[in-house]
Amino acid sequence: MRTEAAALEFEPPYLHPAYRATVLRAPRAPLIRLPEEWFHRTPGPAFGRIPVRESDADLTRQHRGEPLGERIIVSGRVLDSDGRPVRETLVEVWQANAAGRYIDPVDQHPAPLDPNFTGAGRCVTDAQGEFRFVTVKPGAYPWRNTENGWRPAHIHFSVFGSQLDSRLITQMYFPGDPLIPLDPILGSVGERGRGLLTCRFDLGTTRPEWALGYRWDIVLRGRASTPRDV
């Protein structure tokens, strides 16, 4: 059963002047709408050539030593818009280190790099649509969008899903971050959208005497392909 989707939309607009980089990059001509059945619902990009090892999901074990910072577990489910698990789909993550610095050479923030942290990971969801990463909590960092502007701590997520309009790149934020109400990127999705992009602390995911746990579910557009015997 498909219900009217419009009331459930919290997508950001392309043009959002508070985020200055949108001003010269948002298209101005109206986007062309194609029928859903032969555009949005066609198969999405195949990512099968991207190699994934089990160890890629642990960002704290990619170097000789452990990275500095607060070790955390981030897990959740990838669901389709009917709430069914999206199985065996690629989830990619990347983030700043605990000091708020990306290893990317483009990042010039004068905070220390961590020789034991790259900040990129990936995994494939299991039969229940579950993903799980071990990492360190990323730090906030400054950006020049506004005077004294700072990005709230976040982890970037890339998820493929099964059809053309399932493809999603987004950011996950942490509860209680005082920068959240000030952030123009997160502000582009409204209050309800902010809630959808904020993970929750979860004692059940927390591993005793080792790491705090957070849960965050990702809902993709479209319907997961269902095995014929279901």
């Binding site: 990059r25 948002a26 062309i32 032969w38 990347w94 990306y102 790259t118 790149i169 950011q171």
Partner: protein
């Protein structure tokens, strides 16, 4: 019946994805006699966009390339065939393209059509929905051994994008 949930909203890929996406080799989708497609991405002031990442695919072939300091991307991919479209109409061969960049809160969707498929392009049901004056923004042009496909995010020669 599962409760219908709001899709997770999109957020920009940001400027710092280069160390995480794409992976080495991602620009080459493999296949026999791959096409080379290259081009540049520009903003509304005509400046190169050095922090975009493009995903280009058809069927099982998938390539992705980040733009360099001059806004240039390059991929190798096999040429798609014509595919069945709606109501028995045949869709002209095309590649699907997703454009992600700093400053794009949500990615953009466009298509690459081929310059040597004039007849198929003329009958294509998606191109038919595009203002004829703007259709050329969706057709690659030959350039040496490669095909050239530039993307203008905004402005007088703005590329046609499809609503997601």
């Amino acid at each position: 019946m599962a409760e219908r949930s709001a899709p997770t909203p999109s957020q920009t890929v940001g400027p710092f994805f280069g160390f995480a996406l794409p992976f080495p080799g991602d620009a080459d989708a493999g296949g026999v006699a791959p096409l080379r497609i290259e081009g540049r991405v520009f903003d509304g002031a005509g400046a190169a966009v050095p922090d975009a990442i493009l995903e280009i695919w058809h069927g099982d072939a998938f390539a992705r390339s980040a733009t360099d300091a001059t806004g240039r991307y390059r991929v190798s991919i096999s040429k798609p065939r014509a595919t069945p479209g709606p109501n028995g109409i045949t869709a002209a061969p095309h590649l699907d393209v997703s454009v992600f960049a700093r400053g794009l809160l949500r990615h953009l969707a466009t298509r690459i059509y081929f310059p040597d498929e004039g007849q198929a392009n003329a009958a294509d049901p998606a191109l038919a929905r595009v203002d004829p004056a703007r259709q050329a923004t969706l057709v690659a042009r030959p350039e040496g051994e490669a095909l050239r496909f530039d993307i203008h995010l905004q402005g007088a020669s703005e590329t046609v994008f499809f609503a997601l």
